[in-house]
Each structure stands twice: as structure tokens, then as C-alpha cells.
Symmetry: C2
Subunit: 81 residues, 2 copies
């Protein structure tokens, strides 16, 4: 079966996110009120052909560890639907 | 109240996604089987101070339209939790 697996790769919470800070100040300059923090990462959608949902998730986890996320600076979350 | 609003900004489905194609071939080179398509976009988390969930969502929508997404090449999805 074909599964759509979604991966979010985000900068670790302990680290500064300069891109997020730039967007935060940009939103302020545009006059948008209420936004207090911005963090920016990657959203990756994989179409995976696998026998089961857990197998698809395992493939996505391996892809994240081997290629998509840099564990020194990023963490990842996986969801299947 | 403080809301965490999540925005996914993805390349339009009609457009090629060269970054996704590069990752797809990279996964193949790593010997990972089963992945048939990859698309890569941005995942943005906003911390928004607002009176209600719908107000927070509205602010996020305005931010997406004005700054975060380029409608010529990208679409966005918003979720609040």
C-alpha cells in the first residue's frame, strides 16, 4: 500500500533560529501583532510503498536519520496518514 | 492565551520540486527502498498571543499571505494546537 508520511525537521529548542528571528522582525515591520516567537524548519512528505503503516514509518525514520535531519542541530517528528 | 500555530508551506503540486528530487535520488543511493516521491517545503511554528483559537489562526493566515508563502510557487496549510 502507498502511505503519505510527513516529517518535520526543526532546529533544536536550545539553539537560536536566525531565520525565525528574521521572520519575527519582518512580521513586526508589516504591522502584524500577537506573534511572539517563530521557528522555521523543513516539512518533508514521502510517498512510501510499504506493507504496513509501521513499516512505512520505519523507512521514514531511517531516511530522517541517514539523510534528512542533522542530529547536531535538528530533531524530527514523523506522522503517517 | 498563547497558541502554537503550525504552518506548512509546500511547493504547488503542479510544479517540479528539485530539492525533493535530489533527496529521492539520495535515498536511492543510500539503499533505502520503498520511497516513491519526496516533496520538501517549510514547517513554521508561530507562538501567538491571541484571544481565541480562531483569532490566532487568522493572524497566522495573514502572516502566511503577506510574508511566509509565495502564492506563485507555494501553498500553505495551517493547524492550531
Amino acid at each position: 500500500m502507498n502511505y503519505a508520511v510527513h516529517i518535520n525537521v526543526m532546529p533544536l529548542k536550545e539553539l537560536l533560529d536566525p531565520q525565525g528571528k528574521a521572520v519575527l522582525s519582518g512580521l513586526g515591520n508589516l504591522g502584524l501583532k500577537g506573534v511572539e516567537d517563530v521557528r522555521i524548519g523543513k516539512h518533508i512528505t514521502l510517498q512510501i510503498e510499504a506493507g504496513s503503516e509501521s513499516e512505512a514509518k520505519k523507512i521514514a525514520e531511517e531516511a530522517s536519520k541517514k539523510l534528512l535531519a542533522n542530529p547536531v542541530m535538528e530533531y524530527f517528528e514523523i506522522s503517517v496518514n
